[in-house]
């Protein structure tokens, strides 16, 4: 039986689990701490309902851009796994295929809609209630 693209990709370009966990932990640390800061800021500004979530999304995109250019050096594929089964396989042209889909992990990963969002809402509601 011929190996599936996923198995082939693992053989051709194996990943280091230590580095993977280190990178995702770095990203989620930044997201959760800055989520709390952003929540405090949203509470001070007195944002309400959708404006608060819009502020959260917008400023997190800014943080992602900083992360992308300062820490990852505009090469997300070097530091994140990306879509399974794309790395290493190259049917069209010669050379090493870096894979695809890692930008999604960088821009929307790291608990953007889970842990960091709960920290943001905590800071937002708490500071908003104390100040007013």
């Amino acid at each position: 039986m011929a190996p599936s693209p996923y198995e082939l990709s693992l053989l051709l370009n194996p990943l280091v689990p230590d580095s993977l966990t280190h990178n995702t932990r770095t990203l989620s640390n930044i997201r959760s701490i800055s989520g709390l800061f952003l929540g405090i800021a949203a509470g001070i500004l007195g944002l309400e309902s959708l404006w608060g979530f819009g502020f959260y999304l917008l400023s997190n995109m800014l943080i992602s851009a900083l992360f992308y250019f300062l820490l990852a050096g505009a090469k997300p594929q070097k530091y994140f796994a990306g879509a399974a089964g794309t790395r290493g396989l190259n049917d069209k042209q010669p050379g090493r295929n870096p894979g695809s889909g890692a930008w999604r992990e960088l821009w929307f990963g790291g608990g953007l809609f889970t842990e960091a969002l709960s920290g943001f809402v905590l800071g937002w509601a708490g500071v908003g209630g104390v100040i007013r």
Binding site: S19, F37, I44, L66, L70
Partner: protein, 118 residues
Amino acid sequence: MSVLSRILVFVGLLSLFHAAYSAHEFSILSTKYHKNAPLPLDIKLETLISVFLACFGLVLGSEPLRPVSWNEWAGKIEKEGGPHPFRGLEDRVGFMDIRAERREFANWAKAQGAATKS
């Protein structure tokens, strides 16, 4: 975390708390004298700038990422001179430099002989 990023985070947080205090004072005064005044522009600007500074310091001060591909990871370790993961393959008998080993042994034997004679 470098010194610059620490300073950035510290200044950002300090001015964030200052902005919070200002907003609190403003809301107390505005409810005493008139109703529902919007927050002044300077407090808004201070909040936004300070939170941006803190986040910038946070990103700047976090640990550098590690390459995730095995080949880049191993190459980086080897370049830095650490014990690289392919050491076991390069230490096999077929790759041994027999002349260097012999020379080393001859030097050692000569040193031993000189030591025992004197």
